[in-house]
């Protein structure tokens, strides 16, 4: 287990190096000049040249990349071109909010999605199964902005049960988490349903029923743990999606996450922030998947780590 973890961590470092190189390269060849964004529309050619030199953007690609990575290994993520503030400070200010929303969002997705999937599987072929799968289809296709705004309008503005956006208390977390939960539940519902159906067909389930065990015990103690394995992998991927920035939901609810930071940085070609957020997201994805892979054998002892 330990050597597996170590080798996966080494792999993680290599992945992050690759991500940093590709991202830096893409930003370098982008037909959009960050210096022009900083210099603004009234700058003279001299000012533009000065800024380019100050930021080292007149250097060849490899030199720029090397300087960035050298700084990174010393713990310095660079300074935002437009804000002149440390990127690490900007990300650290928003990371807790993003992590909280991610955890709550995944939690809501699981609660809604798994319940839907299990119920659909147990009453397979019946009206409720069709209804739930139709609902999952709708939620997966629904535009984020519309769902978020609808929930906000209904529960916060009209009914007044929750604050109209913002951050700080549990009440502020409910609606954004619920939005994410509804939007993402479709995937989990379908996956859970098919996984559950397959497990319920298995020999050991028939054996357990034949032994006279209660139906609910069979489902919860025998079928569910086996059905849930692919879900773990999905959670790993989901962490990646969340950390990539759920900009729209953050925007509607005024949630101070890194998605908004990344979005603004991309618009203004603020390269240090873009690099920083990309690397943080990549880190989260790699670690999330590593965690999922480490948990799996705990649930299913048949899967051994070689």
């Amino acid at each position: 287990m330990a050597s597996y973890t170590v080798s996966r961590l080494v792999q993680a470092v290599l992945i992050l190096l690759g991500v940093s190189f590709i991202t830096f390269f893409l930003l370098y060849v982008l037909p959009a000049d960050p210096v022009r964004q900083i210099a603004g529309r009234s700058a003279t050619p001299q000012t533009v040249a000065n800024i380019r030199e100050q930021l080292g953007l007149d250097q060849p690609f490899i030199v720029q990349y090397w300087r960035y990575m050298a700084g990174l290994f010393q713990g310095d993520m660079g300074r935002s071109y437009l804000q002149k503030t440390d990127v690490a400070t900007l990300i650290a200010a928003r990371l807790p909010a993003s992590l909280l929303l991610m955890a709550a969002g995944i939690g809501a997705e699981l609660v809604i999605g798994l319940t839907m999937g299990i119920v659909a599987a147990l009453w397979r072929g019946r009206a409720i199964d069709n209804g739930l799968m139709m609902a999952s289809f709708v939620t997966v296709s629904a535009p984020q902005f519309v769902v978020a705004l609808l929930l906000l309008y209904l529960f916060a503005v009209t009914l007044g049960w929750f604050p109209i956006g913002g951050y700080g208390t549990l009440a502020h977390l409910v609606l954004p988490a619920l939005t994410l939960g509804i939007l993402g539940s479709g995937w989990y519902a379908r996956m859970m349903r098919s996984s559950m159906i397959e497990v319920l067909r298995a020999d050991f389930v028939r054996t357990a029923r034949a032994k006279g065990l209660k139906r609910s015990r069979v489902i919860l103690r025998h079928a569910l743990p086996n059905a849930v394995l692919p879900i773990i992998a999905m959670i790993g991927i989901d962490i990646g999606i969340f950390m990539g920035g759920i900009v729209i939901v953050e925007g509607v609810f005024g949630w101070p996450g890194i998605g908004q930071l990344a979005w603004q940085a991309i618009q203004r070609v603020d390269i240090p922030i873009i690099m920083g957020v990309t690397l943080v997201s990549a880190c989260a994805i790699v670690l999330g998947n590593l965690l999922a892979d480490l948990i799996t054998p705990l649930i299913d002892p048949r899967i051994r780590i070689r």
């Binding site: 037909p31 959009a32 000049d33 022009r36 964004q37 900083i38 210099a39 603004g40 529309r41 009234s42 700058a43 003279t44 050619p45 001299q46 000012t47 533009v48 000065n50 800024i51 030199e53 100050q54 930021l55 300074r79 935002s80 437009l82 804000q83 002149k84 503030t85 440390d86 400070t89 900007l90 200010a93 928003r94 909010a97 705004l149 906000l152 309008y153 503005v157 109209i164 956006g165 913002g166 951050y167 953050e250 925007g251 509607v252 609810f253 005024g254 949630w255 101070p256 996450g257 908004q260 930071l261 603004q264 618009q267 203004r268 070609v269």
Partner: protein
Amino acid sequence: MKKLLTSTALIAALAAPAFAQESLDPNATPGGGIVVTYKDDVATLDPAIGYDWQNWSMIKSLFDGLMDYVPGTTELRPGLAESYMVSEDGLTFTFSLRSGVTFHNGREMTAADVKYSLDRVTNPETQSPGAGFFAAIAGFDAISDGSASTLEGVTVIDPSTVQIQLSRPDATFLHVMALNFASVVPEEAVAAANGDFGKLPVGTGAFKLDEWTIGQRLVFAKNSDYWRDGLPYLDSVTFEVGQEPIVALLRLQNGEVDVPGDGIPPAKFLEVMGDPEQAARVVEGGQLQTGYITLNVTIPPMDNVEVRKAINMAINKDRITQIINGRAVPATQPLPPSMPGYTEGYAGYAFDPEAAKQMLADAGLADGFETELYVMNTDPNPRIAQAIQQDLAAIGVRASILSLAQANVIEAGGAGTAPMIWSGGMAWIADFPDPSNFFGPILGCSGAEEGGWNWSKFCVEDIDAAATAADSMLDPSAPERLKMWSDVYMKVMDEAPWVPVFNEQRYTMKSARMGGDDSLYVDPVSIPVNYDYVYVTK
């Protein structure tokens, strides 16, 4: 010995009272706080760097410069400088500073701070987007290329007198001294911030920064030692960031927000204006802004002025104005109507597609031609581009639309590869209320070089020379100078490198409890709201 310049405007400035007596609003009730929302995070509050339309007025409230404007107007008035004298040749300005002005950290402001601030903003290490505005100051070139660390032309005569020497006459100099970039900052606070002065601003302004939770909110607190007696009225201004405009409007309607900083979202505009109670709280005002289509004069067939005139006549500006719910005034020329130097009564190129087709035929393009129209991809610009495309198609010009991110359009414009660009979302808005501000970077030869903002690559030496001559006059508001600028823009229109389309109106919505003259809510300089002068009733 330099003699006093005896122009009437400057005599009036010298006659300004010695202490900061304000004509205060008798209805104003001091106290209370307001909440303003914005979608984008505030990048920086460093006056040397901040150049967003949202931090512009915030910086104005935290800092002061030598010159200022009468609130709600474009009229210059003394700021930190109590009075000033100008030499007869217009090259030497001597400012007498007010006494007793303190920074937020308690220290008294002196002439040395003025020198430090100007040195700082022109120093390449600061990376100020506004450094170029100070090019007329003697010694600017030296500090700009690194051979000097201080501006030779700025001299501290004594702790309350500073003298600025120009290397050439510059009619816009006093406006430049009123720009945020010329704000006075304390050296020790900049040093203590260790490169992060933008998040830890210290100035002389009506408000000071009390709290900044990155990504969430900023709180400005009243500066009780402010040198303008009786101001500001408000105890605090809270800026909440990361708020979608539509959610901000919902919160305004719910009584949680006082001013949605990004304005009324287009989707809700008609609904809000249709409700008399809400419409009564919306203030409409002009902006020093123009939206235009640039025609690249280096890309055939738009190198032919007749073709450019034809395109001008093909555009239905009234229809385009309707696309944005009528929130603009069709434009006939580059300058907006409220800008000094605007040519009244000039009709421009009237909408006449038949005549336009004829002009194209006369130029040998009876079958029209193909071209590309670049546009920024945020609403309503793509819809406006479609309307332009249809207007052009009606005269045989087949334009394909390239809807891109702002940075990419700017890049294409600067590189000169874009035949036509609709300026929406990137449109020119004045830095200061003077006609010269609409020329240099966007219509002058200096802006036409690689990477510049003169996307039509328009460069006519004669017109450039006329512009320079107009700026060499000493009094910015002299009628002769304004006439010269009017002539410059008329000559530009004769060459038709642009199609001026509309001047956007500004609509500021406020909560019922906000008070203060309407002009403060559409202040042409302190956008959107002049926080120093507004108050809350009750």
